[in-house]
Symmetry: C2
Subunit: 339 residues, 2 copies
């Protein structure tokens, strides 16, 4: 291992976005006098009559949830994207805007209000994966939808307004910024080498074994070299797959196992239901081949030192670059100790 | 005014970064069931014996602060950048890293622990501006420093670990991501038109008067068309100035007035000491002419609806694009009502 990377301030390059992260390993010991997050580790009931996501309950728009038994999907009553947004575009000198249509959905991972992905079995999570596949296919088949963003906000500190286990899908006509960057970087690399950027990166990581958390036959869970969040991690299929659609049932189960192993380790790390935002980046549904895409799921957890002390991505990070204190290599060791 | 922009989901283009923000005006009315921020509106004493920034107190490294009377600057004891970081670079296949050196400073805006910029007079803030000028000059003169990032994190919710009025300066050898983007966009425009991107944008905004909060002889305070944060605002000199160094004493006072007017209005908006991160983007100190740069100061406040409900930039925002509910035009009206 290059020990300079553990001792001196440096920048690491994110091959997927083309951007840099500032790493300050020497800074991990600075004292914390700032805000502590509230933690709620109270056990929740399996059913909460006030939860608008629990089976049989009524949502704000008056609709009643079915008595679902595993996964339940519905269209978001307050979606950020409108299905039938009027089509318009503004090009008034330096004022530039375009209408954007889309469909936003909510996906309940389990009828059990008390659970999170970390408490579910791989078989239960596999059903979530099947639902993601179904939604990706159906939404993607819509001519107006060229990208399907699957994500989860977990925990109050991540702006999650309801603890019932659920994620979201925002699908839209154009590629959002982050996807656009990854599309470009992967395409440039693929055009040059005729191979997958992430596939070749993975080969290096599997050889080094310095940042690998877990692997099974189909998937690797690792902390990428360029990780921004203290315990950021990525789940990547070993063989290039453009999207989750290319997973057969057994591979979907292995994907579920990878999610299960990672989220369980997270929960153990600070002995708390670990907050994060997670998201799947995969091929656009624009009808192109997209042979440069290698899908992956990333987890961005905000916690830094304990259940109550988080990393703030503020001033310097907003105006300059993301910055981290503990290195990816240290974070891997801490997470692996929980397996 | 284009009313489509107030009614339908759309994207707006940020001319300075080349990126888009998703705007969902129809969504402003969704109910909030998520986390409420703690607010502390208790008056602070003018001097706190436990504050490591108050005059005469001892810092963690044992140094004693002088009995300063206006502004006081010192080098951060736990800087994210090291002045004498060993020089190295890693280019191991797809693992790419580079050492980064720099100097991090803390700047106390006032000896009075109880104040914030919003409570200070323009004359007092002018002294802060003079200090920024001095630091920009001195740090920038260092051959190893090619960019000087001046910023402030205000409020516990913005990761500010000490309420004593203060900001920071992180200076370093390379351009951070956000500055790199703005450098490119401004340079491309300047090469094409031989004029300032922001200057031409400002001319349009001054004519429309739809997003202007305040102006004096030298400065405009406005909500940019592409603002991300609900009450994001920008202070821009009317005539192109590459950096704060090009402000004479009177212009520095007008800059201070602009800061004063904006921060006072912020505090009134939700009747709370308004949290934000602010930062100045200006010409690199790389020895080049940088005639394409037009300096500006941005404020990114996290609050959305009240002193306790903030906007979370999470899941979709992290994996897709930033997203906002109330439009820039609505936000301007709300802020102007506080003047
Ligand atoms: O330097 P401070 O105030 O201790 O720390 C704060 O500002 C820094 C610069 O924006 C961030 O990196 C930290 O996450 C934040 O807590
Ligand atoms: O959709 P929710 O859960 O109400 O809202 C949460 O997730 C959204 C998508 O990441 C964000 O835009 C909101 O700021 C956040 O509070």
């Amino acid at each position: 291992m290059n020990t300079d990377l553990q001792d001196y301030s440096h920048k690491r390059y994110n091959i997927l976005t083309g951007e840099w992260v500032l790493v300050s390993p020497h800074r991990a010991k600075r004292p914390w006098q700032g805000q502590n997050e509230a933690v709620n580790n109270e056990a929740r009931p399996s059913y909460d009559e006030n939860c608008y996501l629990c089976p049989g309950n009524t949502r704000i728009n008056g609709e009643v949830n079915p008595n679902y038994e595993d996964v339940f999907v519905f269209t978001n009553d307050f979606g950020a994207l409108q299905k039938d947004s009027k089509t318009f575009s503004v090009e008034d000198g330096l004022l530039i805007a375009k209408s954007e249509t889309g469909i936003c959905k909510v996906i309940c991972f389990s009828p059990d209000h008390s659970k999170s992905l970390a408490d579910m079995t791989p078989e239960e999570i596999q059903k979530v994966v099947f639902t993601w596949q179904k939604e990706y296919t159906e939404l993607g088949a819509n001519k107006a939808i060229n990208y399907v963003q699957i994500f989860e906000n977990k925990g109050a500190v991540m702006g999650c307004s309801n603890p019932h286990p659920h994620g979201q899908i925002w699908s839209q006509s154009t590629l959002p910024n982050e996807v656009e960057k990854k599309n470009t970087q992967q395409l440039n690399y693929f055009n040059k080498t005729k191979s997958s950027l992430l596939g070749n990166y993975l080969a290096q990581e599997l050889e080094k074994q310095e940042r690998i958390i877990f692997e099974n036959e189909t998937f690797v869970v690792l902390i990428p070299f360029w990780a921004v969040w203290p315990f950021e991690a990525m789940i990547v299929p070993k063989k290039q797959k453009r999207s989750i659609l290319e997973l057969n049932d057994d591979e979907a189960l292995q994907y579920a196992e990878a999610i299960s192993v990672l989220t369980k380790a997270y929960d153990k790390l600070f002995n708390t239901s670990f907050p994060y935002s997670s998201g799947i980046h995969q091929a656009p549904t624009d009808g192109n081949e997209n042979n440069h895409w290698h899908f992956h799921m990333s987890f961005y957890p905000p916690l830094l030192r304990s259940a109550t002390v988080k990393k703030f991505m503020v001033g310097y990070e907003m105006f300059g670059s993301p910055q981290r204190d503990i290195t990816a290599e240290t974070a891997v060791k801490m997470i692996k100790a929980q397996l």
